[in-house]
């Protein structure tokens, strides 16, 4: 039941983006939309693979993790305005791809790529913290919570920090354990998609209007 609700929320985020397309144009959220579409497709493909070709489930999840990481890493890279912070996702990506390559060549019988997923979660938490820090220190942004990207990052931050421990242990789960613990992932996936929907539905922020930089002392 919860899996179905999770899937509905995944579709809902795609629908919300398309419904509020005008509001999301030129906001740098296309990559998140592509990620949402990819998630919906991956969910369908994942179910099919699990039924027919369970042996290759490891590779499927590993590929999903790579794609998911790539979408988010690009989103963060594009969102970092400061040159000094832009190198963080670049370095992170090199480390991540290195780890993924390592797990690909050294796979065992496990069905879930725990190391890559956990690494992805840690990197996403780091990017989110850097993003939020750069937002609160930027004089151009008066109300950080008025921006669409803020809610996207909050969703990412919440999702990856809540599922970090789950991903750490996921490789060693029995099917029964997987069933009972995967609820955590589903709940936070719903929360993530809800926050995505909020972000997509939000009106375009006009932070520059309220910026301290644009404040005119000669208004008198």
């Amino acid at each position: 039941m919860l899996e179905k609700v999770t899937f509905i929320f995944e579709i809902l985020s795609v629908v919300f983006f398309l419904c509020f397309l005008k509001r999301n144009k030129s906001e740098g959220l296309w990559v998140i939309f592509l990620y949402c579409v990819y998630s919906v497709i991956a969910e369908l493909v994942g179910v099919a693979i699990a039924r027919t070709d369970a042996k290759n489930l490891f590779y499927f999840w590993a590929c999903y993790t790579i794609a998911e990481y790539t979408f988010f890493a690009y989103f963060f890279y594009a969102s970092f305005k400061n040159k000094s912070t832009r190198f963080i996702p670049i370095v992170g990506t090199l480390i991540f791809y290195g780890i993924v390559s390592f797990t690909f060549y050294n796979r065992n019988t496990q069905a879930f790529d725990s190391l890559s997923a956990s690494m992805e979660a840690i990197l996403m938490i780091i990017y989110s913290i850097v993003f939020l820090y750069s937002q609160i220190t930027s004089p151009e942004i008066m109300y950080v919570f008025n921006t669409k990207k803020f809610w996207i990052v909050v969703a990412t931050f919440l999702y990856f920090s809540s599922t970090l421990f789950l991903f750490l242990y996921a490789a060693g789960f029995t099917s029964q354990e997987h069933k009972s613990y995967w609820i955590i992932n589903n709940v936070f996936e719903i929360l993530k998609n809800t926050l995505f929907c909020i972000s997509f539905a939000m009106k375009k922020s006009d932070n520059h209007k309220n910026s301290i930089n644009t404040y005119n002392p000669d208004f008198l």
Binding site: I136, L158, L164, L166, Y169, I212, L220
Partner: protein, 280 residues
């Protein structure tokens, strides 16, 4: 990560749940902290904005009041001095029409001429006080030297000035602004300080242009200046501040290292001055 994965199975659920709850709590805490911190920063910035607005308002009011006072002074000069003089000259000339006696006529024409000369001198004085001709024709250095010679000549105070590096004149409008600031400062020293000497020096250092005034009377420090600027008194100081704002200049009031003299430093950036000139 590997260590955590190696934890025995019985503890997995405990670590998993506590870990997840802990991470979630940390994340929520961080987000809440960011939101509250930002609200605090916004409030602080708004307070700063409001303070700056108030300061602008005070400066604007001061400059308007000063302008009005200047107008009133010119009006009073014209009305009280030039008006009666011209009326008297008119009377003498009128007498000329009535009285046909030649010697009386000559006498009244001579009197009228004298009065008209006085009026011309009076109007010249008013005009000079509005825009000193020395400043216009020969620049800031000559105008300041002239002003200080006049003060010294009065015998009440020893005043001297020295320009060390003023080969290139500033823009005429800016020279006038600086001259007015110096006038205001000197005026304040004459009125309030009880000093026995004033010494002015001009210097440049890189792109910076300095004018420094020393005197041995009672003076004010930067703290006093800031306090007076925020209050409703100290009209002259506000006027100085608003004039320097036009030039993006700064003014510092301090006591000399020896604690004997008071020092006022006006600091301008030459580049700013050039930019302002280009804009004009």
């Amino acid at each position: 990560m590997i260590l955590l994965q190696a934890t025995p199975g019985s503890n997995v659920s405990l670590v998993l749940y506590f870990g997840t709850i802990g991470m979630l709590a940390l994340t929520i805490g961080l987000i809440v902290f960011i939101i509250f911190h930002q609200r605090k920063v916004i409030r602080y910035q708004l307070r700063l904005q409001r303070m700056e607005q108030d300061q602008q308002k005070l400066l604007l009011n001061a400059s308007i009041r000063l302008q009005e006072e200047e107008r009133q002074r010119i009006a009073a000069d014209l009305h009280d001095d030039a008006g009666p003089l011209l009326a008297t000259a008119r009377l003498y000339l009128n007498e000329n029409l009535v009285n046909l006696d030649k010697t009386t006529q000559l006498q009244s024409i001579y009197n009228a001429k004298q009065i008209i000369d006085d009026t011309i001198q009076l109007i010249r004085n008013i005009s000079h006080s509005l825009m000193p001709p020395t400043l216009k024709n020969f620049g800031l250095e000559s105008a300041v030297n002239d002003l200080f010679q006049k003060i010294s000549g009065s015998g009440s105070m020893n005043a001297s000035s020295r320009f060390h590096d003023y080969r290139e004149r500033l823009q005429a409008e800016n020279e006038l602004i600086i001259f007015r600031v110096i006038q205001e400062l000197v005026n304040n020293i004459l009125k309030h300080s009880n000093a026995s000497f004033i010494h002015l020096t001009q210097n440049t250092s890189g792109e910076k242009f300095f004018i420094r005034l020393h005197h041995d009377g009672r003076g004010i420090t930067q703290n006093d200046f800031n306090k007076l600027n925020k209050s409703n008194v100290g009209l002259g100081l506000k006027n100085i501040q608003s004039r320097l704002k036009v030039l993006h200049g700064k003014i510092f009031f301090e006591k000399d290292m020896s604690q004997t003299y008071y020092k006022v430093t006006i600091e301008l950036i030459k580049e700013e001055e050039d930019k302002l000139g280009e804009q004009e």
